[in-house]
C-alpha cells in the first residue's frame, strides 16, 4: 500500500500511519494475511523516525488490526475488516462533527444544515467500492528512491 505522510499536518505522524493502514484495510487494499512493511522499511521509505512507525504498529496491534506472525512480521489480522470500518466510521463521524460545529458557528439553522448534507448526498454518486484507500500493487517499495 501507499502511505502519504505530512509531518506538518495537525495529526501526529504515528496517527497518520494508523489511519492509513486502517483505511487501507477498510477499503480492501490490504486484506487479512497481507504483510505490512517492516518498521525499518517503512521508516526508511517515508524518511521518518522508526520509533514513530513502531508506535503506530504497536497501536494497530493493540487494536487487533495487525498480528505479529513469527518469522513473517506483521500481517493484517483476521477480523480486522470490521474493526477498520469502525475506525473509519469514527473518523468520518468526527469530521462531520467538525463540519456541523462550523455550520452552527456560521448561524445556519438545522434545517439548512440538513439541506446541505442532502444536497451533497444527492450530487455525489455512491462509490462502487470503498473510498480513500489508493490502489495498490504488491510492491511495498514505492516512491522511495529515485536515481540521483
Amino acid at each position: 500500500m501507499f502511505f502519504a505522510i505530512d509531518p506538518a499536518n495537525g495529526v501526529a505522524i504515528y496517527q497518520q500511519i494508523v489511519r492509513q493502514v486502517s483505511f487501507a484495510v477498510a477499503g480492501d487494499a490490504l486484506q487479512p494475511g497481507d504483510r505490512v512493511p517492516s518498521v525499518r522499511q517503512l521508516a526508511r521509505q517515508l524518511a521518518i523516525n522508526p520509533n514513530t512507525v513502531a508506535r503506530a504498529y504497536q497501536q494497530l496491534q493493540d487494536e487487533r488490526v495487525l498480528d505479529a506472525v513469527r518469522g513473517t512480521g506483521l500481517v493484517v489480522a483476521r477480523g480486522a475488516l470490521k474493526r477498520c470500518r469502525q475506525i473509519r466510521a469514527d473518523v468520518v463521524r468526527q469530521r462531520i462533527g467538525q463540519v456541523v460545529a462550523e455550520a452552527r458557528q456560521s448561524r445556519l439553522t438545522d434545517e439548512e444544515i440538513r439541506a446541505l448534507v442532502d444536497e451533497q448526498l444527492a450530487t455525489q454518486r455512491p462509490q462502487t467500492n470503498e473510498i480513500f484507500a489508493p490502489q495498490t500493487n504488491d510492491s511495498p517499495d514505492v516512491n522511495t528512491k529515485q536515481e540521483s
Binding site: A8, R40, T52, Q146
Partner: protein, 324 residues
C-alpha cells in the same frame, strides 16, 4: 538507562560573551535528538563541548558516560561527527580519504567506508576537490558512520544541499536509529526535524527554552484565532502558557500551550470553553506545525519574563499589525 549525552548546568563564555548559559539536558539512547535555534544561539558551541573540542566555563558534560573534558579523544573516537563545513585534504581521492581516516580507527573501518561510499554512489577514484557540494557532504557522512558509532552528531548537515542528498541523510539517520543508535541533529530544516526527531530542544541566546518529546509538544500546543465582538477589549484569559499573540482589530491570534501534560487528553476541550465567553464571537483552533511552534517560542523568549498578562498595559509580545 544511562543517558548518551548529559549536560549538567553548563555555561560557556567567550570573553564577555555568554554562548551557553546554565544549560542542563539529557539525551537517552536510541533517539533522534534535535537542537533547534537561530544562528549564534549556541548549538555549535554545545556540540563542541560534547566532543571535548572546547571546555565549559562551568558545569560538566558527559558523552557515552565519559567526561568530555578529560576524555575528549576517547569520545571523538566513539562518536561520528559531521561538522557544518567538513574539511578534507582535497587532493586525496574519495577512497584515499577513507584509507587515511581508517588509520585513526579500528579494523573494518575502511571496508565499511567503501560500502557506504558505494551506497551513496560516490566516485571512489575522484579527487575531493572535484566533487560537488552534495558529494562532499556524503563523504563526510560516510567517514562519520564507518566505525558504526553509538552516537552520530550532525551539525547543520544538510544546509545548502539539494533535496535528494537531504533525503539520503534522513534515511541514514533513520537507519541508525532503527539499529538502536542515537543521533544528535542540529538543523535549520525544521520540516526535516519534524519528520525524524523524537525529542526537540530549542535554544535561544545560549539559554535552553525547551526540551521535550516532539509528539508531546505538538499535542500540547494550539493556535487559537479568536474574533471578539468588541475591538476595544482583550480576549479572555486562558489556562496555560501564552507563547505569543498578535491582533488585528477584533481578531486575535494566540499560540498557547495547554496546562495539562496528559498526552492523550487533547487540549482542545479546554480551549473550546472560550466559545462560551460572551465576548467571543468566533473561535478557530488549529494545531500548529513545529515551525510555527518554534517561532512562537523564540518570540516568547524575547519577553522579559514569565507569562504575559494582557490585562495590563500593552505587552511587548503583542505584535501590532502594521496595517492598523
Amino acid at each position: 538507562m544511562q543517558p548518551i549525552i548529559r549536560l549538567d548546568r553548563v555555561t560557556k563564555r567567550f570573553g564577555h560573551e555568554t554562548a551557553l548559559d546554565d544549560v542542563s539536558l539529557e539525551v537517552p539512547p536510541g533517539v533522534v535528538f534535535a537542537l533547534l535555534g537561530e544562528n549564534g544561539a549556541g548549538k555549535t558551541t554545545a556540540i563542541r563541548l560534547m566532543l571535548g573540542l572546547t571546555e565549559p566555563s562551568a558545569g560538566s558534560v558527559e558523552v557515552l558516560g565519559l567526561d568530555s573534558q578529560t576524555h575528549g579523544l576517547e569520545i571523538r573516537r566513539q562518536v561520528g561527527y559531521v561538522p557544518e563545513r567538513p574539511t578534507f585534504y582535497d587532493w586525496m581521492t574519495v577512497s584515499e580519504v577513507g584509507w587515511f581516516t581508517a588509520g585513526f580507527y579500528g579494523d573494518g573501518y575502511e571496508t565499511r567506508y567503501r560500502e557506504l561510499a558505494t551506497e551513496f554512489q560516490l566516485p571512489l577514484g575522484r579527487k575531493i576537490k572535484a566533487l560537488s557540494k552534495g558529494m562532499r557532504a556524503k563523504v563526510g557522512l560516510s567517514l562519520a558512520m564507518a566505525h558504526q558509532p553509538k552516537l552520530l552528531v550532525l551539525d547543520e548537515p544538510t544546509s545548502g544541499l539539494d533535496t535528494l542528498v537531504r533525503r539520503e541523510f534522513l534515511e541514514s539517520m533513520v537507519e541508525l536509529t532503527a539499529a538502536g543508535q542515537s543521533v544528535l541533529l542540529s538543523s535549520h530544516q525544521i520540516s526535516e526535524v519534524e519528520r525524524v526527531a523524537d525529542i526537540v530542544a530549542i535554544i535561544r541566546g545560549g539559554r535552553l527554552l525547551l526540551v521535550e518529546p516532539l509528539d508531546e509538544l505538538k499535542a500540547a500546543v494550539r493556535q487559537l484565532t479568536v474574533t471578539l465582538s468588541d475591538g476595544a477589549v482583550a480576549p479572555p484569559r486562558l489556562a496555560g502558557e501564552l507563547l505569543c499573540e498578535r491582533h488585528h482589530g477584533r481578531q486575535w491570534q494566540m499560540i498557547v500551550r495547554s496546562p495539562s501534560n496528559d498526552q492523550d487528553q487533547r487540549p482542545d476541550n479546554e480551549f473550546e470553553l472560550l466559545r462560551d465567553d460572551p465576548s467571543v464571537r468566533d473561535l478557530e483552533i488549529h494545531t500548529p506545525s513545529l515551525e510555527e511552534i518554534f517561532v512562537a517560542y523564540l518570540k516568547s523568549a524575547s519577553e522579559p519574563a514569565e507569562g504575559v498578562d494582557y490585562e495590563h498595559a500593552e505587552p511587548s509580545a503583542v505584535i501590532e499589525d502594521a496595517s492598523q
